[in-house]
């Protein structure tokens, strides 16, 4: 019997996020939410999710103004606590972003975040459902699986180290959509808007299933 009704996940919203849709899905999983209010919350949260839609610049300005940057890096790289970045929340984990002003990111992962039109052959937003090819086991999904997820973005994560990449998408060229280091997970897609496959990711991250 699972005792998950009391489970609380901490949320750090960056940019113009979409907290309500994540909240709705977490409540479907009987998981409560609490928002980050201090550096201490970031360092002590059992599970931290960073959702976000908007620009890299706005998101980093917000994190810098609140001195959250160093705490996030410490949480991911030293404390190695479970952290999940979604979309913009994943992108800010990189070294540098080119959306808005060129901006330093959290550098949890080495690499950059750049407009997809300057890297890939496609010249439009990556909006809709796309097939994700998993190279490695990743939050309840096995390597070599191809699974559909929902995306809505114009910028992509470009890791320096190919070994960090857990999954890729093809949109006029392949690019990274799931990246992992220790217990820090970055996903470009939206698990909260991807029906069963998204629920698998969230359940696995929150330890709601044995995988």
């Amino acid at each position: 019997m699972e005792h998950r009704a009391n489970k609380i996940v901490t949320i750090l919203e960056v940019g113009f996020g979409n907290l309500p849709s994540l909240d709705r899905v977490l409540s479907q999983l009987s998981v409560g939410t609490k928002n980050v209010e201090s550096v201490q919350d970031i360092l002590e949260a059992e599970h931290l999710i960073i959702p976000g839609v908007g620009s890299f610049e706005t998101a980093m300005n917000y994190l810098n103004q609140n001195d959250y940057g160093e705490a996030l890096k410490k949480r991911a790289l030293e404390l190695k606590l479970p952290t999940l970045g979604i979309c913009l929340g994943a992108q800010v984990m990189f070294g540098k972003g080119y959306e808005g002003a060129v901006m330093k990111g959290l550098s949890i992962f080495d690499g950059t975040v750049e407009n997809l039109t300057s890297i890939l052959a496609e010249k439009k937003s990556h909006t809709g459902w796309d097939k994700v090819k998993f190279r490695k086991d990743f939050l309840g999904i096995s390597r070599n699986e191809n699974i559909d997820f929902f995306f809505n973005h114009d910028y992509i994560m470009i890791p320096d180290n190919n070994n960090d990449i857990s999954a890729e998408c093809d949109f006029g060229g392949t690019f990274a959509v799931a990246i992992k280091k220790y217990n820090c997970f970055a996903v470009q897609f939206h698990p909260e808007k991807s029906q069963e496959s998204g629920l698998t990711i969230l359940r696995s991250f929150l330890g709601l299933i044995n995988v």
């Binding site: 113009f16 979409n18 709705r24 479907q28 439009k124 937003s125 809709g128 808007k193 029906q195 069963e196």
Partner: protein, 242 residues
């Protein structure tokens, strides 16, 4: 990237309704709506007179429809200000449909794109055949001309609503979809008139058409869309298996 089948849910004072040529005719209970076979849900408030009460009923209706869903949600109907978008955002909307049939909304779209990002905004144009349609009348403005005017100043996708086809089950207005698709390199969502799966297949095969919508209550409440997906896929359509 898959092409999408969108469940377009129209609400009149918070009650799901069917429209014919944009006039609400039948009202339905939302009890039976099953959104899971769609790729995305778009909820539009079609209330004739909008008030605080009608908006609150609309939002309660959305909550109910999305209660068990993990699909992306777009909301529209009467969005005229940044404040309207902020209010809708609280209900878990990912994208916002802004009616851009009239030029007066262009400045607002620019502001909205700046504030929320291009990928959060869907521009829409209502049309009757070759002409735009606004405030219950067919205008003298040609649809391609209006599409051309907003080709830069718009959201990430353009929703073309055929009022003429709405509720007829005769099929989408492919002639106009094709015309706009050929002259502008913008991703299109086509709405109005779908009656059978071959309509979906035909329209999704037009280049630049990324999605089609159905607001037919039968399609929203039964396994119709699941069956359509199999048929469309068998005939070479690029849709997701749900």
């Amino acid at each position: 990237m898959y092409k999408r089948i969108i469940g377009l849910i129209l609400m009149n004072n918070g009650i799901v309704c069917r429209t014919r040529n944009f006039q609400p005719d039948y009202l339905y209970t939302d009890e039976f709506i099953d959104s899971k076979y769609f790729d995305e849900i778009v909820c539009i408030d079609v209330s004739q007179e909008r008030s605080e009460q009608s908006q609150s009923l609309f939002l309660t209706g959305i909550e109910k429809i999305m209660e068990h869903s993990q699909l992306p949600l777009a909301i529209g109907g009467g969005i005229r200000s940044i404040e309207d978008i902020r209010r809708y955002r609280k209900f878990g909307a990912d994208r916002y449909v802004i009616n851009q049939t009239e030029a007066e909304s262009d400045t607002f779209v620019t502001e909205a794109v700046k504030e929320f990002g291009k990928s959060s905004i869907i521009s829409s144009i209502n049309h009757w055949g070759d002409f735009t349609y606004s405030n219950g009348v067919i205008s003298t403005k040609a649809l391609p001309q209006r599409a051309s005017e907003i080709s830069v100043n718009r959201g990430s996708e353009l929703l073309l609503n055929s009022v003429e086809r709405d509720g007829t089950l005769l099929g989408f207005d492919n002639a106009n979809a094709q015309k706009i698709a050929n002259s502008h390199d913008m991703p299109l969502i086509i709405s109005g008139g779908v009656g059978r799966w071959s309509h979906v297949l035909d329209t999704l095969q037009i280049e630049n058409v990324e999605a089609v919508c159905t607001s037919n209550i039968y399609h929203l409440t039964t396994k119709t869309i699941s069956t359509w997906r199999s048929e469309v896929k068998t005939k070479g359509g690029n849709v997701r298996t749900v």
